[in-house]
């Protein structure tokens, strides 16, 4: 019997697990995918928002501003790459300038620090080189960029290190409440029990709420496609460049250009309602559109700079055509005590994650006293980056262990030791994508052309993988149909 069961191991679920792991609680996280960052938490812009888009007084506004501060502490504790870049919203005509002032007003009301409307082409370009013909901008110094999948992984692995149990490949399909206990069943028929149940199932949150017995929520999957540009362009872009928010889709911030902490530049996301909550596709129409819209905002790239495309899916609580403001739902359901629902955690869900976790903790504390665990370790004890060490230190380590000397990924210069650390992750996530996200291998220019066969060799020789054990990112995503020459 667990004290707390969390359904969905994305950034939100794992932030809650991390927060609650400070206390003497038995906690389980159930994640249907083979790893924790395969949902929205690994497919987004990775922007630490400041909080000027959201209606004053709303949860989105409060939690975003609170999360923005708290997250900076978390980044340090959890070794998550973060850059305090600041950000600009560009205005190209007077109507848009008016919008900037409106947003500044909202931001000020929300308690966002340092917002400033800057007028004049030269001044705008001074703040943000490459802003081009923009006549004004809203400059937000509190905005920054970070690695969202490394955040999610670090949260999960640190929670795990503090005793939280992670069940991967475990989809909760049935929940009943009997005598104050939630009885959960997964897709294989395995059963689990818990006293508190938390729904952080992202784009499936409405569906899962229904499974527990609370109807009335609906999520409309809304796809955001991205293009990734070669990191050779990185020196040209200092900070995210956003347009004045689009009015087409409620809550969408519009196609922006964002540097990433890894180097490649993001263009996107588009906003398109689709039926499939996992319809992660790139479409020719949108790819063209992104290219054009991105080019309007920041005309410094060519077709051949595009190295990859991907998409993420927003858990939108608003249907197509609806433009009014919808807030996060974060509450204990009255009809089912001890069931905490989190629905519609779309942007700024990542930024807000620490604050969401705090709120969930307080909901529990209203009913019971939580006892601090003395040996709680808030720091992520893994995830060191060899490439970031000084040259002297690198030489010292390479002498100490041949695995620090052997470079496996030539694009990102990842050592064999880092690859092995990623393979030996505490969650026992086994897919190639799990290694990719942890070690940041197979992500560079060649997209694994050089290192993928090497990683496969390590998995085979040092971890005994058989051809059928190799999966890319999902159940059924086999890499090999077998041996070319069989042994029998």
């Amino acid at each position: 019997m667990f004290d707390v069961g969390i359904v969905g191991g994305g950034a939100v679920g794992s932030a809650i697990a991390y927060e609650l792991s400070r206390f003497r609680l038995k906690i389980a996280v159930f994640e249907k995918e083979p790893d924790v960052c395969f949902g929205a938490s690994g497919r987004n812009s990775g922007v630490l928002h400041a909080g000027f888009y959201y209606r004053p007084g709303s949860l989105k506004a409060k939690l975003c501003v609170e999360g923005n501060k708290k997250m900076r502490e978390w980044f340090k504790l959890l070794k998550v790459p973060f850059k305090a870049t600041g950000k600009v919203l560009l205005a190209f005509d007077e109507d848009e300038v008016k919008e900037l002032y409106k947003l500044k007003e909202i931001g000020d009301a929300n308690g966002v620090e340092g917002l400033e409307v800057i007028r004049g082409r030269d001044k705008v370009n001074q703040i943000c080189p490459g802003a081009g013909e923009a006549i004004a901008c809203l400059y937000s110094p509190m905005t920054g960029i970070f690695s969202s999948y490394l955040l999610t992984i670090a949260l999960a692995e640190t929670a795990h290190q503090n005793g939280v149990k992670y069940f991967l490949n475990c989809k909760i399909v049935d929940v009943r409440k009997e005598n104050g206990t939630f009885k959960l069943k997964d897709q294989r028929g395995e059963r689990y029990e818990c006293r508190w149940l938390i729904n952080s199932a992202g784009v499936y949150s409405a569906e899962f709420s229904k499974i527990v017995g609370v109807n009335g929520y609906k999520i409309y999957p809304c796809r955001g496609e991205y293009l990734l540009l070669d990191k050779a362009l990185a020196p040209l872009l200092k900070m995210p460049i956003y347009p004045v928010p689009s009015k087409e889709v409620g809550g969408a911030l519009g196609v922006h250009i964002t540097p990433t902490v890894e180097g490649p530049i993001l263009i996107g996301p588009s906003a398109e309602y689709i039926d499939d909550p996992e319809g992660y596709e790139s479409t020719p129409e949108i790819m063209n559109k992104l290219f054009e819209e991105g080019y309007k905002l920041w005309p410094y790239f060519k077709k051949s700079d595009v190295i990859r495309s991907f998409s993420g899916i927003r858990a939108k609580p608003v249907p197509p055509g609806e433009k009014s403001f919808f807030d996060f739902v974060i509450k204990e359901e009255e009809s089912i005590p001890n069931f905490i629902n989190l629905v519609g955690i779309e942007s700024p869900g990542l930024t807000s994650a620490p604050a969401i976790a705090r709120m969930v903790r307080e909901i529990i504390e209203r009913k019971e006293k939580l006892l601090i665990k003395e040996d709680f370790e808030p720091r992520y004890l893994r995830g060191e980056r060899f490439e970031e060490l000084s040259e002297e230190e690198k030489e010292r380590r390479a002498k100490e262990d041949p695995k620090w000397g052997e470079i496996i990924c030539r694009c990102e210069k990842i050592t064999k030791r880092e690859i092995i650390e990623a393979i030996e992750n505490p969650l026992s996530a086994k897919t190639l994508a799990s290694i990719k996200y942890r070690a940041r291998a197979m992500m560079g220019r060649c997209q694994g052309g050089y290192c993928m066969p090497k990683i496969i060799e390590i998995l085979e020789r040092e971890f005994g993988y058989k051809p059928e054990d190799f999966q890319l990112h999902k159940e059924g995503s086999w890499l090999f149909s077998g041996r070319m020459r069989k042994d029998d």
Partner: protein, 123 residues
């Protein structure tokens, strides 16, 4: 009869034009060949098309699990899959030296299967 074909003997890939009479194999005339091999090729391609193949054989205890192999002379085209079947059955133990004959007269042809790589033994 005339026939156009691409000579595959070397990367030049000459566009050969072949004039021939099936009853008189000596009466071959070949145009557009950059070298004399082109004529030989055309003749063989029409009367008795042949190919060489290259593939791999399983090696145990080697630094790599496969040794690359080839056949040392062209075999009739319709024998390719027979030869492949024989090669697939073979299993070797390292070390293997490049140039070693692994199967002689494979699948009833005149060709030998030979290793094209050296695979050292490990442990």
């Amino acid at each position: 009869m005339t026939k156009e074909m691409i000579c595959i003997l070397c990367p030049n890939g000459c566009n050969l034009v072949v004039y021939f009479d099936e009853k008189n194999p000596d009466g071959f005339k070949v145009e557009n060949a950059l070298c004399p091999k082109g004529k030989e090729y055309a003749q063989s391609e029409i009367l008795d098309p042949r190919r060489t193949i290259a593939t791999s054989v399983r090696v145990e205890d080697g630094e790599i699990p496969l040794v690359s192999v080839k056949i040392d002379r062209p075999i009739p085209k319709n024998k390719i899959f027979d030869v492949m079947r024989e090669i697939k059955k073979l299993k070797l133990k390292a070390p293997i030296r490049s140039g070693t004959i692994l199967i002689s007269k494979v699948a009833g042809t005149e060709a030998n299967v030979i290793a094209t790589k050296t695979v050292e033994r490990v442990k």
